[in-house]
């Protein structure tokens, strides 16, 4: 069986990743594709329990390094239980966040070192490399204002200072620049419908390219 396509949504809080992942999933299903939509941290029962630890406001004193390991723990389980089997089964896998979230948040945001975080995650990722990373780019102030407007409860990750989010955003943009073959940056300050259209064009092209390649 042909390996499926691995699509990752990345971006800071309030960029609309989970909504776009769902919209894309629905659209692909309408075209008859087999799709799995999942998220990190989480995606598995064990992963969701880890997410509950990292997103609990009671854990504001969680060490950045411990946080990095918890994210990797969730990821290791996620890759082995969900992502790798689904790809092997020919599904299009869409995940809301993957390893580049750790590089952007812990590596750039918390200054733990980009190489260190990449190395720390090497075994967790286990060679599951995204074919396409869609970076939904918004200035942190816009994303956070959105969350507030939606009245979403502020979890721990949302109450950090502004310069942290600025470092995360710049980190993402650096990742996009250094991995331009798989990254696409989408302006996510626009409406959800407009962003969804941009995302769809990107994915449609990626699928078309893939078909071309398999014909060769």
């Amino acid at each position: 069986m042909k390996r499926g396509l691995f699509i990752v949504f990345e971006g800071t809080e309030g960029a609309g990743k989970s909504v776009q992942a769902e919209l894309l999933g629905n659209r692909l299903r309408e075209t008859g594709k087999k799709v799995v939509v999942t998220r990190e941290p989480g995606g598995t029962r064990i992963g969701e329990q880890i997410r509950a630890i990292t997103h609990d406001t009671k854990n504001v004193d969680l060490d950045p390094i411990a946080e990095a390991y918890l994210m990797a723990a969730s990821r290791a389980q996620h890759v082995r239980e969900i992502i790798a089997p689904a790809l092997a089964d020919g599904n299009i896998v869409i995940t809301d966040r993957f390893v580049d979230s750790s590089i952007a948040y812990q590596g750039y945001g918390r200054n733990l070192g980009v190489t260190q975080i990449a190395e720390l995650n090497e075994l967790a990722v286990n060679g599951a490399k995204p074919d396409l990373v869609i970076l939904l780019d918004v200035p942190p102030s816009v994303g956070l204002a959105r969350l507030e407007k939606e009245g979403k409860q502020k979890d721990r990750l949302d109450t950090q200072q502004r310069d942290f989010y600025d470092r995360v955003r710049q980190g993402y943009l650096a990742l996009a620049k250094n991995n331009s073959s798989r990254y696409v940056v989408v302006d996510a300050t626009k409406s959800a419908e407009e962003v969804a259209s941009s995302v769809w064009r990107v994915v449609r092209d990626a699928l078309a390219r893939r078909n071309e390649e398999s014909k060769k």
Binding site: I50, D63, I65, A66, Y69, L70, A72, A73, A76
Partner: protein
């Protein structure tokens, strides 16, 4: 760092915890304050046993959780205690992750490198050695439900792993089949404090 870090390693049923308590009492008579810490922490141990029951956790997921757990423990408890001049008796350290979660030598290198980012080097590492038969007898005497690795075959396999891994790590072997008192005296004589 002024305090000393003592690590007790070995399969279950070797009497590590009993010896830690005895050592702590002895150190108190020498006016040395000490802390007993567990690896994994009791909290994580509980999570592991609950999760292993409901579904399979990947060994690598466990390793990452151990790393998260230990890195917090080192920063919040072990380093501050050592810096104050207190001693720390750690029941297990990353050697256990090598024995229980590592499968290949490549895993061992990776696990070691990750832990050594934060783990202080022990001043003394005592390896409690016992035959699987004797270990099982003691485990059954505890009257608690058996852990994941507590079968004679697995205990034997883990003992072999310990011996292989410890070839590369400075340690003192303790014959854990001896009497409690004798083991205690042996440990003290190795510490060179009196």
């Amino acid at each position: 760092m002024k305090g000393k870090l003592i690590v007790f390693e070995g399969v279950s049923g070797t009497g590590k915890e009993t010896q830690a308590k005895l050592l702590q009492k002895f150190l108190a008579t020498q006016k040395i304050k000490s802390n007993i810490v567990f690896h994994p922490s009791p909290e994580l141990k509980e999570i592991f046993s609950a999760w292993r029951k409901e579904r399979s956790i990947d060994a690598l997921t466990e390793t990452y959780l151990l790393l998260a757990d230990r890195s917090s423990r080192v920063r919040q408890q072990i380093r501050p205690a050592l810096e104050k001049g207190e001693w720390v008796i750690s029941l297990r350290n990353y050697v256990s992750a090598l024995v229980y979660q590592g499968k290949t030598e490549k895993d061992w290198t990776w696990i070691t490198n990750e832990f050594l980012r934060f783990e202080p080097k022990p001043d003394y590492l005592f390896y409690f050695d016992i035959t699987p038969g004797d270990a099982m007898k003691r485990i059954l005497l505890r009257g608690e439900p058996l852990g994941k690795f507590e079968t004679p075959t697995l205990l034997n396999e883990k003992r072999k792993n310990y011996k292989k891994i410890l070839q590369a790590i400075p340690h003192i072997t303790v014959d854990a089949s001896q009497s409690i008192e004798r083991i205690h005296r042996g440990i003290i004589s190795n510490l060179h404090i009196v």
